[in-house]
């Protein structure tokens, strides 16, 4: 039995190696997805958007002529399966360009592995907050914002609504979160803000997968908080909204993170979710944007769409599209330095992600005007931008209901620095030198 499995594996390995030889001038993007399991309703549109953008890149003629290829691997949001997928895909087709696991748990596991394999990780809008510090986390790119930014921006919005930070004093805020690294990540920031402004913070964990929340909402009923922050994913979000309806907690006092503000979260609840607010990671649902029209024309009209046509332009679809765009643009940036029209290695692509400079002109040319704001990364800042705004569900669609916010650098920067230093000390890594930044 053991022998035969070994032989099987060896055969597989051999075929993988021979497949790698056959490749020519193709940039390989592994795609970790979850199209099954408790988080599939949210994982599927993201994956479809991601793959559609890669298809569009080829339709546009590749990255300066380099065709992109990709392969999906199903993680089911499970860390061990994610690690297996990573190992499976990292060496294929001449080597993976970048990984985007779309799971905080998998991100943590891959953060330990990626530096050794010299493959960058993009965690756009999730992952480790302290990985913003590129001087310690050389291979992590939490582009467009982290959970600390998200939590800070929600609190800024609440303060603004109340008429100033001082008005938050004595207010009760409940943080209902997915009991995993994902939901726990914003807690240090919330606690920091709590110390500064004197609101009451109650932490209410919900265990995976989040279909059982009666106890959490009983607590909400007893506590009667002024605001509820919702840090859920997958079925947890729609369940939370249903429980809020049952408890009679006003939906317009609920604020979701950007992963709790998409169509699958509210659609089943329908009218009950009206007034529910969530952060928008720059974009919301953008059915009228130029990029969506281009995807429809060049991918879906050709019969090559990955998912259903009416999903194109939805919030999570757009998030997948944007994530893929960032991955591709990083490679394009790297080509500027290492040779146009060449296949970039993961190490070269890393330089591209670290020196990303997408200004408004470039975004307009890509069709992302109105979808994304300019972003530029550096050695010290692997995040690039922290813009976000609120959108609110009106029973049929998401509408923007606030101005743009940016997180408070003065507060977050020292926290990032401290957390990154702690990580570096635990792992006995030296901070990178300025010279290393040029490499």
């Amino acid at each position: 039995m053991k022998l035969t499995t070994l032989a099987f594996g060896a055969a597989l390995a051999v075929s993988a190696v021979s497949a790698a030889w056959a490749q020519a001038k193709e940039q390989f993007f592994p795609v970790l997805v979850y199209r099954t399991g408790a988080y599939a309703p949210n994982g599927v549109p993201f994956a479809n958007g991601y793959v559609d953008y890669l298809k569009l890149t080829n339709a546009r003629g590749g990255i300066n002529g380099v065709k992109v290829i990709w392969e999906e691997c199903e993680t089911g949001y499970a860390t061990d399966r994610g690690v297996e997928c990573y190992e499976r895909l990292k060496g294929k087709n001449g080597g993976a360009t970048v990984f985007q696991p779309l799971s905080t748990g998998i991100t943590f596991a891959l953060t330990e592995k990626a530096p050794a394999d010299k493959i960058p990780l993009i965690t756009a809008g999730y992952g480790r907050s302290e990985s913003t510090d590129g001087m310690v986390f050389k291979w992590n790119f939490p582009l467009t914002g982290t959970y600390w930014d998200a939590a800070d921006i929600i609190l800024q919005h609440l303060a603004k609504k109340e008429g100033g930070w001082d008005k938050l004093r004595g207010k009760k805020i409940a943080h209902i979160f997915h009991d995993s690294p994902y939901g726990k990540e914003p807690i240090p920031l919330l606690q920091e803000r709590q110390k500064m402004h004197g609101f009451e913070l109650t932490l209410i964990p919900v265990t995976h997968p989040g279909v059982e929340q009666k106890a959490a909402w009983l607590q909400v009923r007893q506590l009667r908080p002024d605001y509820v922050l919702l840090w859920g994913w997958g079925v947890m979000n729609s369940t939370a909204l249903k429980e809020a309806v049952a408890t009679g907690f006003p939906r317009d006092k609920m604020y979701g993170v950007w992963w709790a503000g998409a169509e699958p979260d509210v659609k089943d609840v329908g009218d009950g979710a009206r007034g529910y607010n969530a952060l928008a990671l720059q974009h919301g649902a953008e059915p009228n944007s130029a990029i969506v029209k281009e995807v429809l024309a060049k991918v879906h009209d050709k019969g090559q769409g990955t998912g259903p046509r009416d999903e194109v332009g939805q919030v999570l679809y757009m998030r997948g599209l944007t994530a893929a765009m960032l991955a591709v643009e990083g490679v394009k940036r790297a080509q500027e330095r290492f040779g146009k029209g060449k296949v970039m290695t993961g190490e070269q692509a890393r330089w591209g992600y670290e020196n990303l400079a997408l200004d408004q002109k470039k975004l307009d040319a890509l069709g992302f005007s109105g979808v994304m704001r300019p972003i530029s990364t550096s050695c010290a800042d692997h995040r690039g931008a922290t813009w976000a705004r609120m959108h609110t569900w009106d029973g049929k669609k998401w509408n923007f209901t606030s101005d743009w916010y940016q997180s408070d650098e003065a507060l977050i920067k020292p926290m990032i620095r401290a957390a990154a230093d702690k990580y570096a000390a635990e792992k006995k890594i030296e901070r990178r030198t300025p010279a290393d930044c040029q490499s």
Partner: protein
Amino acid sequence: MLYRENGQFKTSYTSDLQVFPIAQDRIGIALLLAFAVFAVPLLADEYMFRAILIPFLILALAALGLNILVGYCGQISLGTGAFMAVGAYAAYNLFVRIDGMPMLLAILLGGAFSAAVGVLFGIPSLRIKGLYLAVATLAAQFFCDWAFLRIKWFTNDSASGSVSVSGLSLLGWKIDTPHEKYLLCLGIAIVFAMLAKNLVRSHIGREWMAIRDMDVAAAVIGIRPVYAKLTAFAVSSFIVGVAGALWGFVHLGAWEPAAFSIDRSFQLLFMIIIGGLGSIMGSFFGAAFIVVLPIFLNQALPALGALVGVTISTAAVAHTEFMIFGALIVFFLIVEPHGLARLWSIGKEKLRLWPFPH
């Protein structure tokens, strides 16, 4: 014809008490071990090591531990994930809090902590039996899940509740390539398999089996149930804890309590049921079945589809994987309710008579 023990006489007690009394078995195992130690590192690539062989070895070790409790002592436990978690978190805390703590010692001490917790949660087994005990051990699972999620001290005040280790080394040997990690896991698995094999042949192993077969009768002939059951819990949890520490340290590198959830407990229980209750070999068979088969199906299905010109979507592959996997479990349990290990020994019996069966 080749596999036949004719002419092999046992002339001393030692030769009579050998683990593998048949010379061909000894040669086979020696060859297998030699293959695993010397040939596999040359043949396997990084993917094989990291995604298949290392998880297989670690989970086989955990299954081995559970098999001692369930297969040999007859105490059903659903708290295996919890004992793995105790091993992993104890080893982690020892490793990061004590400067200069050797990794192997941390892992073994992790096992020791796990053994202590195992004994604690094994106490109800003195009063509760069978399925009721399974439910009682669930308490261990939920308690440990809760403790490692909530008590910040265990995770070294990590903000996200996820902990990670790196810089593994053993007596100056830096373990960072997958090949070295594989050898570490293989070494530990071999040592524990040998220990377990000898333990279950010793007087304590016989006590466990007597308790399993009929505890009242065992008590009547002078076996202390308290001692037998609690030692089974201790030894089992120790091995499971070591496996848990390896799972965190060597395989995942960074983990959260979800890595040791109730799903893990069930997975391990299925491993030993499919592999064979009360069999050391069966633990390895079961682990191979449960670890390797889903991954194999996941990769083979798209390839098979491509052969006949069909593109199977990722979701369809995942669903089909579950269906085929489930069907195979049912199939094997119908064909041989005593697990793959029993199939293996039937095969050996047949081979002894081949080509002239009675």
